[in-house]
Amino acid sequence: MEIAVLDYGAGNLRNVCRAIEHLGYQHCLVRTAGDLKTIDKLIIPGVGAFKVAMKQLKERGLVEAIQEYAQQSKPLLGICLGMQLLFDRSSELGETEGLGLIRGSVEVIPDTDVEGGAMKVPHIGWNELEFDLPAAEVIQQIRELSPVYFVHSYRAVDVSYENLVAHCVYGGETIPAIVQKGSVVGCQFHPEKSGYVGLRILSGFLGD
């Protein structure tokens, strides 16, 4: 089984790679559309800006390649920005089209909460997951477990209820935390930075 981490020039993929190695799995880095053809499981990491990331994916011919990969119902896990890229579009640094694998868009987290109080952005820290759907096999193990680590200024909006697996609450705002459509899964938090719980989530995705 070939596990791959997408290297598209953005983000800090080394931490994801280290976590995969720590769990005892081998992996490779994919950089081109051709590389993707032989892959069985794909992780799209990401720290950075949506617009820049999409530009880098386009330049490498990876947009269509990822869409084709997903159409074959092969497992795909997007982390943080990698999750946001799965949606239709984002308003970060100007309206930009995403991969369109899950319906929804990405908008900045408002800096006032539902009661009009000030809210700190970025959302940084450990926050509890609240499940909206029976968790997919991939993430079944994390139910009822301790919080996971978030760090982001943008969040998904208009996510269809059938794709929203779990959310967290920040300043009264519902933030999609796990989304899924078929074999495509996205985590807004960083499983590679969420201690043992995060490692278990990753391990659930990597295992058969």
Binding site: N12, R14, N15, R18, A19, H22, V47, G48, A49, D111, A118, M119, K120, V121, P122, I124, G125, W126, N127, E128, L145, S146, P147, Y149, V151, H152, S153, V169, Y170, G171, H190, E192, K193, S194, G195, Y196, V197, G198, L199
Partner: protein, 255 residues
Amino acid sequence: MKNIRLIARLDVKGQFLIKGVHLEGLRKIGNPQEYALKYYQAGADELIYMDVVASLYGRNNIRDIVERTAENVFIPITVGGGIRSVSDARDLLRSGADKVAINTAAIQSPMLLTEIAEVFGTQSVVLSVEATKQPDSSWVAYTDNGRERSKYEVLEWVQKAIELGAGEILLTSVDREGTCHGFDLELVRYVSEEINVPLILSGGMGALNDVAQAVRSGADAVAMASVLHYEHLSLEDIRAEAKATGLHVRQVEWK
């Protein structure tokens, strides 16, 4: 719900974990990676590595330590000390850091905060402020590990830095640092009321109820060093006490 964060701070000089009082009189404690792993396993929510001589000598020897730490520590790591350019920040982020903390270089060239934020996002830019109380009761930001007085009043500097791209503030009270006499609550109140980004309070943690006081005074996270290194308190007890006093803390799950 928002969990406050319990952060272990590791000041490093060369290959050693060190600790001083008021950022001076440094003593060797041990191997930084061993302590980092120990705190990770004890449930620290984050780690901060601070290379305390980096800005003095312009060196960046902390990269290897971060790299080795990140192999078996899977919580966020902030690294500070001697970061002077986007390329320095990139090196550290590639080595395994999630955020970089910047003090001296930002005071010398504030646009550095913007440059790093534009490439890596504001969430990876931490402004490190070494605050020292003046005889006239104002606070002034110091650089070079509390040695040099800058021209900035603390709050003025913090607000400017946030505008420029700092996504988080690491506020260290030089007066309390290493004393274990409790956090400077007046300082954190003064700063936190005026800002809208997360604030980590550092310097003075000594007793179990210091955490609750810091949080009630406006801190989103507390950084601890001496109290952990010298084993005055354990992270387990600190977490349990925080929870008992009604604070939201991460419930740490073991295997």
